[in-house]
Subunit: 295 residues, 4 copies
């Protein structure tokens, strides 16, 4: 029995590669997409760092974070202005800043020069966010919202497609194909933790799946970013898993950074502070050099 | 340590019940929503059966199925006219019938009197489908597409909310809260299989989670339907798992029925034929009586 | 590509059936092992019930339970005298009664006539327990302890092989083959919950996998018992999942019964009391009749 | 609610740390066990490499491998002489070499000076293997075979305890406590892949869990080794996941090395050849230096 026959429906077959995601699939073993976004190279030896708060809490905060993460070596400022919630009620602290948040991010960029990425959560905000952001982030809840994927792709803006915590690599690449089929070439994948029987702490909902990095890179030419903050949900594990992501071959690392993590409006257990981020960038740089790449 | 303290973030706590899904949560242990849809009772002793093809392939087919499943005891005709696909390409056989498919379902209803349920996949089709269907089905890929949930709920039409294959009970009930908060009272939950390490056949992607039936019924007053066809993906397991669903307390059973399953346009491994469906209804009726309910 | 080719290493292939577990595999679709243990029929229409405490706490307790579960309709008295523990320390309450516990079970049998099943945990106790018990129970931790499986099988005593919470059907049947290859014909499988990303309560470690019942029965002629107490770890779910087990086709149901569950030495959240057990047997009988079998 | 209260039964609580595994638990945040085995340091900055074939196929092969992996920088020669099998039948190629295999490993050590590690599968071989090997390896199937753990620990020999593919960190540390309670101080943990819903290839049964490295190191002072060969089951992923293991903080890396992987008696998809191993050691050394450690 050939290896090919061993790939059943829930995994990827050579047949899939040809017919299901011909645009996402590699054309030859060394095929890798290389492109730049806001002057930052993706898919080559360079490993961009995305850093910022889970939530754009205020004008001052996002500017302060922009200045600090840029100084420490981040290439993109991340931040949520529109935030999905598992439940329809928001506590006072957890209020979206929405249009204002986007405005503050744009201001932070214009003052510091750092390009920005933020999540677009629904179709009606695509014009606003595609005008403002350098990269549109599609969250895991929307990974299989195909009409939304198409609408985002049609803006022509670079897109980061987060993997759903319950999705196979096959489903994820299928979603990416929905982006590429619209003619959008600048698509970046992002692994952010999967649901498994054991995550080691009750407060940790996910397991960072680093095996998907070489697995995805075997199948697709698209860059694969890793988000250890969201995946681990636990500050002490963010640094080792970021370094592990680099060593596994990740084409980017996304981190939650906040000046005062314990008082962050959201996810206080996982953000790291400026000093920790600065140290981590130094270490990531060091590990990247060890494998012939650079942060 | 109290039991309550043992519920961490990824499971449901009493705190959650009060603040995160106050409308979905039971107000007292015997609290159960009872309502009727198209004259069919939900949430009481009666267990409605939904039957029909995965896909509304043609006008003749859906009428033939409507006649046959109604004769065998089905309460609702199910059928997909708009169908989500994991990949953006459709084979010739797997073409959506879309508006026509909806029209054919409506015609089948008018000729047979059986009410209909069909999936609404994107916002632009909500008016069309909410006018035509008796129940709007929200598929698992859209379970956490919150703006879409709100838009569906605002139609005032009864809704079936399928559980995502990777979602916790907490996430599922949170999504249901998004429906109830719009004032929509007629919400039905539907379990259709979850991703687990082992599903017993390579061709089976999911495991039917029957434990979620008593678990959900412990937390919420909403009816819980079970879909063994999609979950098992394997015809020989559909009958035992349907009966098990009834015995576990399911408030409805959803089945794929096709006159010629092996030549069905979609999912030929899981649909059952008329004779098997007829036999299964008899058995489900028998098991329902054994637990003091009726199909 | 044939269906057969779709079965990869982690699932079962036709090739496996022939070469990996020829003794466990069905020889024809209607092949089912039928045998009796202590006068109780297995593998036919009859569904034996196993009931008793997690732990044989005292002489009085086990006798009282034996009398009561027998009166309510149980066919076997279960009880742990030798108990595995995840950690090497035992609290005072959680002390094994060991040889004495076995003696008390034997006495309960001689006074009531109910046959007994108990776990054998290590090789040195095989002689003791195979002399005393009507069925040797092999716990999930020992499911792949192959030398131990062989030693148990060689006693010629009937064996119940519990599935490990992380094992595939393939691994489980492989373990059963180790028993049959020793010439032992009276082997009963027992599903007791698997590890999955979501179990619905933090206090619930496992999900009862009822899909494995028809799946196993498709592959093997051996009877398949279901243990909802251990799997759900939560009293309110035991009754619905027991009934669901019967309806799914289980060839036996194993339950934890204790006169005062909240004060049981072990697992106080999952045992049911005499009244609940009595009611449940009535319901299980009713469901079994509905599918043409009997409890 | 305190963090501690958020740790339920299936995860680790502070209560657990004190009462369930007091010997395994860290006494203070910087507590790490440091010891040497056969002159090789564990638990400090040094990261030992274990390399060798899945199976000790022949006298010539194991000597050839010993020479080559030692030359490339391996610290321990691994190899299976007694091999567990999921099914009781062995193909001709997959024959254990047993006592002879152990003898050949001892010979390879005496000729090259490289210390050896091999799996001990059952109690009766403990004397033989504890006399021959520098480290006793306990396989995942035996992780919760507690009498066997005790017997191994009592030899006083260093032990590597592999994690079961379905076990929680809590269960794993509980098993380690069974070793430490016998007075054995030289215990090394080894992660070798866990069962999850998605492993990315049908031929890959497991997902390498690198998140467990910082998680285990947060709880216990014992060294944590990572085995990417067995976990990934796929050669192209072994190198990136080995480097990721180092970067995640692993205290050792275990690899399958074979001169002619495609013709290896066992697991031909996962072993790497001498050239690949040599290159990988260079890279692992480089990554280890980047984080202030050394291979």
């Amino acid at each position: 029995m050939s290896i090919e026959n061993k790939f059943p429906g829930k995994d990827i077959s050579t047949e899939d590669l040809k017919t299901k995601f011909p645009l996402v699939a590699k054309q030859h073993p060394y095929h890798r997409s290389r492109f730049d976004i806001a002057g930052i190279e993706f898919g080559g030896d360079h490993i961009p760092i995305f850093a910022g708060p889970n939530m754009v809490e205020s004008q001052e905060l996002i500017l302060d974070i922009a200045i600090n993460v840029k100084a420490a070596g981040a290439h993109f400022l991340r931040g949520g202005a529109f935030k999905p919630l598992t439940f329809p009620y928001r506590s006072e602290r957890y209020t979206e800043t929405r249009e204002k948040g986007i405005e503050w991010m744009v201001e932070a960029r214009s003052k510091t020069g750092i390009p920005i990425i933020t999540e677009v959560m629904e179709e009606k905000y695509i014009p606003l966010i595609s005008e403002a952001a350098d990269i549109l982030q599609i969250g895991s809840r929307n990974m299989q919202n195909y009409p939304f994927l198409s609408a985002c792709a049609k803006t022509g803006k670079p897109i980061m497609l987060k993997r759903h915590y319950g999705s196979s690599l096959r489903d994820w690449l299928g979603a990416a194909e929905y982006l590429l089929v619209e003619g959008n070439q600048k698509v970046v994948l992002c692994e952010r933790g999967v649901s498994t029987p054991h995550t080691h702490r009750a407060t940790s909902r996910f397991l960072l799946d680093l095996q998907v990095v070489p697995a995805a890179q075997e199948m697709t030419h698209l860059p694969v970013v890793v988000d250890p903050s969201h995946a681990t949900f636990w500050r002490p594990w963010v640094s080792p898993m970021s370094l592990a992501g680099i060593a596994a071959g990740a084409d980017g690392i996304m981190l939650e950074v906040h000046p005062d993590p314990q008082n962050a409006a959201v996810d206080p257990l996982q953000a790291i502070n400026y000093a920790d981020f600065t140290n981590l960038v130094v270490k990531m740089r060091s590990v990247s050099h060890a494998i012939g790449r650079n942060v």
